[in-house]
């Protein structure tokens, strides 16, 4: 069966691009968009796929990662999907890609100007656990009133001695909007700050998208006396020996022996000694 280039029809892609332009103009602000039914379930990246479909052109080179890896089910199938419906070149190399669709990670290799990161977002509203009413969170965003989120950080420090948010760490974008960075580890959040790449975020089920233009300030929330301090595995990668990358923890046997390996497979391959 023949599909239109990038699966979605031209008008749908155009509508998404229009929302994206607006999103880029208001960094960190969530915008509704006409999210379509996609040929895969919600939660598998329908938001990210629609955004990629809307922006991809014939000369693009696409990389898809899931938890940092190019070879996991979700990454493989989305990459194959776009290879089939667009015929564009795909790659696993971060430096060669012009569009990187991602779930849960930002590549370790620094991004460059001209690259576009597409994030798959399950829940775009950073305040949703604290304020269930969408109407109310909209008001809080409009007023820039984020004391609720600070209240949660306060409670974390009180209970756990630190801000125990391991992923989806709330960030302020350009000193204005509180934003969910999608469920990337807190470790990756500093990579968003002043990134030369355009970063766009799509939530298919929630029908919302938002964006961080290149060279925008992205600052994780923190208290003056409790600065942002993400956790990191204390062991080097068992494959490449990297000390600086984000690791997956792999349990090897029933005795609890564990091994740490880079979650970014492309980075790991390049640094193998």
């Amino acid at each position: 069966m023949d599909y239109n280039f990038a699966y979605l029809d031209e008008q749908s892609k155009r509508a998404i691009r229009r929302s994206l332009l607006k999103a880029v103009a208001i960094p960190g602000h969530q915008l509704p968009f006409a999210s379509r039914e996609m040929p895969l379930p919600y939660g598998w990246g329908t938001g990210g796929i629609q955004l990629t479909a809307a922006i991809i052109g014939k000369n693009d080179v696409l990389k898809v990662i899931d938890q940092g890896a190019d070879d996991t089910t979700n990454a493989v199938s989305i990459r194959q999907f776009f290879a089939r419906v667009t015929g564009v070149a795909t790659t696993t190399k971060t430096v060669k890609a012009s569009i990187i669709q991602t779930r849960h990670r930002i590549p370790e290799t620094p991004l460059q100007e001209g690259q576009i990161m597409v994030y798959q977002v399950p829940m775009p509203e950073p305040l949703f656990k604290l304020e269930p009413r969408r109407t109310e969170t909209r008001i809080l965003h409009a007023l820039g009133d984020y004391s609720l989120m600070y209240l949660q950080l306060y409670d974390h420090i009180t209970r756990y001695g630190r801000v125990a948010i391991g992923y989806d760490f709330p960030v302020m974008v350009h000193d204005r909007y509180l934003m969910s960075p999608s469920p990337i580890p807190a470790f990756d959040v500093p990579k968003m700050h002043m990134s030369p790449a355009l970063q766009i975020f799509g939530a298919g089920r929630e029908k919302q998208l938002y964006a961080v233009p290149p060279y925008s300030r992205v600052v994780p929330l923190a208290f003056d006396d409790y600065p942002f301090a993400p956790l990191q595995a204390q062991a080097p990668c068992a494959i490449c020996g990297s000390q600086h990358s984000y690791k997956d923890e792999i349990i090897l046997d029933d005795k609890g022996t564990r091994q740490y390996i880079c979650s970014d497979t492309d980075y790991c391959e390049q640094h193998r000694c």
């Binding site: 004391s147 306060y154 209970r159």
Partner: protein, 271 residues
């Protein structure tokens, strides 16, 4: 002592002269039901004005109008904001909210409506300070402990969830959470109604102490004349949506003029 922020919130000499809140000829209706008729009042800094009356007389509706939660169908509410006396209807939602969350305070009858029950007591207390931009955990904690002591709750309960508190303690917690921003105007909506008599007395004593110390203007809504007598300098009696009698507390309670006030005063059970 945490006095660093108090000078900024102390009543300014300009506001000490005039009223902090003026309501003129307020009317309000829910559909065809007229709830308030031609209500006017003024509140001055450092005084407690009690609004008494039976349930259904429009007390709480009036309080909501004065707080900016409801808009009168006729009439005008003016309040001191950062730029002087201004009609509430002229304020942006943002300014009104800021006013409500820092320069005003609202203590409601049921503390569970105001508190965040899943957040620790200290977190509840310092929420307003964080909304005002304080971002230092150590200072926030110190302020929380300070206010917990001020409302006479054991500081050991600092990090307990409000769920584990008794009714009286919850109401104290709500008061601490409200007073921490040192509001110039405090709205009390039946603050002691759900509490037993001994707890009521202790709480009223505490409120009186805090209010007189901070020179706040207080609007107290209550159906309990004893509470009004204890706290208020002035009393306004409401019935069927109108203020039928107003004056100094002693005057109204000891020498009521209106037949309804006489009935109200004479129907208080002797202690």
């Amino acid at each position: 002592m945490l006095t660093s922020s108090s000078p900024a919130h102390a009543p300014k000499p300009t506001t000490a002269l005039g009223p902090v809140l003026i309501a003129q000829n307020l009317y309000f209706q829910f559909g065809n039901q007229i709830v308030l008729r031609d209500v006017s009042l003024e509140v001055f800094p450092g005084e407690v004005l009690a609004i008494v009356g039976e349930s259904g007389s429009g007390k709480s509706t009036l309080l909501n109008l004065l707080y900016g939660n409801l808009t009168p169908s006729q009439g005008i509410v003016q309040a001191i904001s950062t730029t002087g006396l201004q009609p509430l209807s002229a304020l942006s939602q943002q300014t009104l909210r800021q006013l409500q969350r820092s320069r005003w305070g609202y203590v409601c009858q049921n503390p569970r409506d105001a508190l965040r029950m899943t957040i620790s007591a200290s977190g509840n207390i310092i929420e307003r300070r964080m909304a005002m931009g304080l971002r230092h955990y150590g200072t926030l904690r110190q302020e929380a402990r300070h206010w917990l002591e001020k409302v006479e709750i054991d500081p050991a309960r600092l990090d307990d969830l409000p769920e584990t508190f008794s009714g009286g303690m919850l109401q104290r917690l709500q008061i601490a959470r409200t007073l921490i921003s040192q509001p110039a105007l405090l709205y009390l909506d039946e603050p002691t109604s759900g509490l037993d008599v001994s707890v009521q007395a202790a709480l009223l004593d505490l409120l009186r102490k805090l209010v007189s110390k901070e020179q706040m203007a207080v609007l107290l809504v209550t159906h309990d004349l004893a509470v009004a007598r204890l706290l208020a300098q002035r009393i306004a009696v409401m019935r069927h949506g109108e203020i039928i009698e107003a004056g100094l507390a002693d005057q109204v309670l000891d020498d009521p003029q209106h037949p309804y006030t006489q009935l109200l005063v004479s129907s208080v059970l002797p202690a």
